[in-house]
Amino acid sequence: MGLGPRIAAMALVCAMLDAGGPAGWVPARWQGGPLEVRRRVGVAPSEITRDWYSPRTLDWLENTPINCLLVTWSAGAEAALESEQRKLVTSYARAAHRRGIAVLGLLYPGADPGRAAASATEAGLDGLVLDGDFPDGPTVARELRRSCPLVIPLGARDWLRPEADWPVWGTQDAVAPRIRAISESGAVDATPTSEPWIDSNTWLVRSLGAAGGGRPVWLGNVLENPSADGYARAIADAAAGGGRWVVAPDDALRAGLWRGQPEALATWRRVGAWLSFYERHAEWRAFAPAAALGVIQDRAGKNWAMSDENLNLIARRRIPYRVIERRELTPAVIEGLPVVLAAGLAPPTERERSLLAAFASAGRIVVYKEDPPDPEALSKDLLDLIGNENLPVRLFNAASVLAQAGTDPGGGRLLVQLVNYATEPSERITVRAAGEYRGARLYSPDAPPADLKTTKSGGKTDVLLAKVAVYAALLLEK
């Protein structure tokens, strides 16, 4: 590396520090400029996309915690267009930096990694993000890092391996959070004993959080025609697992903001309010999962996709779990858990085998199978094995709701975060927590906190929530 690039790289690191660094970044997709118009031919209105990098779009970030913009940087278009885009973004990035906002350049398939990295450094961008279906994303990302120290791959889930040291663990392999299947009659797909299928990413955020060793987790998926609640749900679904959804205003919202339409402005204010809520309660990210099950995963192993499906279904069955990355497996990590799922170890090492044997000999249960078990059957069996009555947190009348429970470092407070995936509010939900709690307070981004009545019986505490539209957090205190 020559002196010039080194100085530029140092400037880049300084810019990162100014913006607080990836852990403090609240990201938003902020695509625009002539290159974006070319990239998305046919997406109207193109003039708004073309003119997006005018200072007025930065004004919309005031009163929101968004402090990191993902901007269109390179897509391998003809030189003149790429150059025009770079000039525009360079100027916009300076304006953003003056407001304390970090700017990351988006690289699309077709871009020349070496040239894009050099020009990003020269332009003072805070880093680069790989966005889309690169044939070999990790290799491209590593190439980029030669001249650009901060690179975030935002691609397929299989790009994320435990050995990767990306500053942010991000993926586009996420779903639009919702109830998926509604039959023609309006009935949720159900059987006499089953419940509707919920698409959620919270399990994925928790899995990536464990695999990434606590690095920030970003979900980079884009929603199709989202409602105001749809934005809120995507933010909440990621935040409940301790991650962040990269806010992605769709074309309709962008056009509405551009034109000053009241409905769009209201939606955007709500997005800002929801993001602010989770930043105000950032301490909740440090709460340890209240779990009845430890799930050992191995993102380096051959069965990681099956492990993901196991986690997805375990979460859907509302079994409170803790994700344990294989390299972190120690006696202390599984201490206190009644059941450990070791399906991710195929096969276990001698150290793992003896550790788990000791766990089982203490009267607890290890579930292991040489061949990956069927995730649907496995999740059912695990719930049977643990028993509903032994769950640290249980929900009643909450078919469209999933919950994440965690305890504070002192152990005196239990946080239950509920996300409702249905478009209709969920009413009369009973939250039952193991243990006796004297107080319960309800938090929501849309309302001031409220104290709720607790009912204690048989060593458990019940709290009735009248209504959960999209999200509610219940904080119980001993």
Binding site: S185, G186, A187, V188, P192, G387, F396, A399
Partner: protein, 390 residues
């Protein structure tokens, strides 16, 4: 007609029975009430209906009353609560308990099968019921999960005098340890049997520990996981050896044949003293939202009677059907696609019950009190009904 049918069954399902119902089957008055919802207007309507059938004071005063609820299956239709479609409504249960307590019932037990790892109260909470408010409706109100032993030490063996399929059943103790048995069911269709009323409600009194697919070969399985298809619906296996076995292992295995008969055997084993059918809000097109074509309905009717067969006959007429319709005639047929080669019909359980003397399904012999049938009529067939849905 199936070659294995007895003469009594033949009479029960043939056209002959239309003209000549069994004379020995008793008939009792049935009250129809109109009620527009589950609010404050419910108690006066139900109270009046109790009076119309002769009052309940003598029946329940100083006694234990067990109420079999219909809380079948899970799932929901859109934003409707289960009580608005396929379960009895919690406010009706509460109102009923209040009126029973006011009439002097000493103890009330709510009975229904709960799922694995849950109590009956948990099941109710899971549907959004206010269990605490329900508890407050009577001085002594108990909840019993009848899918297993629960509060009992042993199963009660209840015998069937003139059985179709089973000579007796092993049931949760609460079905024996009661002075009065009340069936609180829902006005709705049934995918395989046509209708779900009082008689079909008794299908749910069988414990899954004995009649579930994973019941033990020799003994009940208190940790059951599966429903009652293999043993009761299809007769693919027998209940555990500890429980009474079928009277004829060679009889028809088709569920349209078996289920109505088993239901009749069950109301013979555990007679229903009082039937209440909740048709204020309910559903057409099946017994739950898992059935294709299931829809919300609001007939705004309550049907109350002392004889379960008479109550079901009147309810069937209110649904717009002939209570003496024969096997395969609407509504007694399967509504959705069967497996290739499978039969489609179902037998009329009211005629089967009538044939063994439980009660009359003949509207000419049943005195309807309160609202006349024609004024309560809610045509289920026109509203989606039982038309075959492939």
């Amino acid at each position: 007609m199936h070659e294995n049918m007895t003469r009594r069954e033949l009479l029960a399902v043939s056209g002959l029975s239309l003209a000549a119902p069994a004379p020995r089957a008793p008939a009792a008055p049935v009250s129809i009430g109109k009620c527009d919802g589950y609010g404050d207007g419910l108690a006066p309507v139900l109270g009046k209906q109790f009076d119309q059938i002769g009052g309940i004071g003598k029946l329940v005063g100083g006694k234990t009353v067990a109420i079999k609820l219909n809380l079948t299956g899970g799932g929901r239709l859109g934003s409707y609560t289960p009580g608005q479609t396929h379960w009895v409504h919690p406010n009706l249960v509460g109102t009923c308990c209040q009126l029973l307590a006011r009439a002097g019932a000493r103890r009330i037990r709510l009975l229904e099968g709960a799922g694995r790892g849950e109590s009956l109260e948990d099941k109710m909470l899971n549907a959004g019921w206010d269990v605490a408010a329900l508890r407050a409706t009577a001085p002594i109100l108990e909840f019993e999960d009848t899918n297993r032993l629960s509060g009992g030490k042993r199963y009660s063996r209840l015998k069937v005098a003139r059985p179709y399929v089973y000579p007796a059943f092993d049931l949760n103790h609460a079905f024996e340890d009661t002075d009065v048995f009340l069936s609180l069911s829902k006005l709705k269709h049934h995918e395989e049997c046509g209708i779900t009323l009082t008689i079909k409600n008794s299908f749910g009194i069988t414990p899954n520990s004995i009649y579930g697919d994973d019941a033990g070969v020799d003994e009940p399985n208190e940790n059951w996981r599966r429903g009652r298809e293999a043993i009761l619906h299809y007769g693919k296996r027998q209940p555990p050896k500890s429980a009474p076995q079928e009277v004829d292992f060679t009889s028809e295995r088709f569920e349209g044949y078996r289920v109505p008969r088993i239901c009749v055997d069950l109301i013979a084993a555990r007679p229903v003293d009082l039937a209440i059918i909740d048709g204020i809000e309910c559903s057409v097109g099946g017994e739950g939202p898992w059935v294709k074509g299931f829809q919300y309905a609001k007939p705004q009717v309550l049907i109350v009677g002392r004889n379960p067969v008479c109550a079901d006959a009147v309810a069937t007429a209110v649904m717009g059907y002939h209570p003496r319709a024969k096997r395969g005639e609407t509504p007694f047929h399967r509504m959705t696609a069967a497996k290739p080669g499978e039969l489609q019909w179902a037998d009329n359980p009211m005629l089967l019950a009538e044939a063994v003397g439980i009660g009359s399904a003949d509207l000419d012999r049943i005195e309807v009190r309160g609202i006349p049938i024609k004024d309560a009529l809610y045509d289920f067939e026109k509203r989606g009904g039982t038309a075959f849905r492939p």
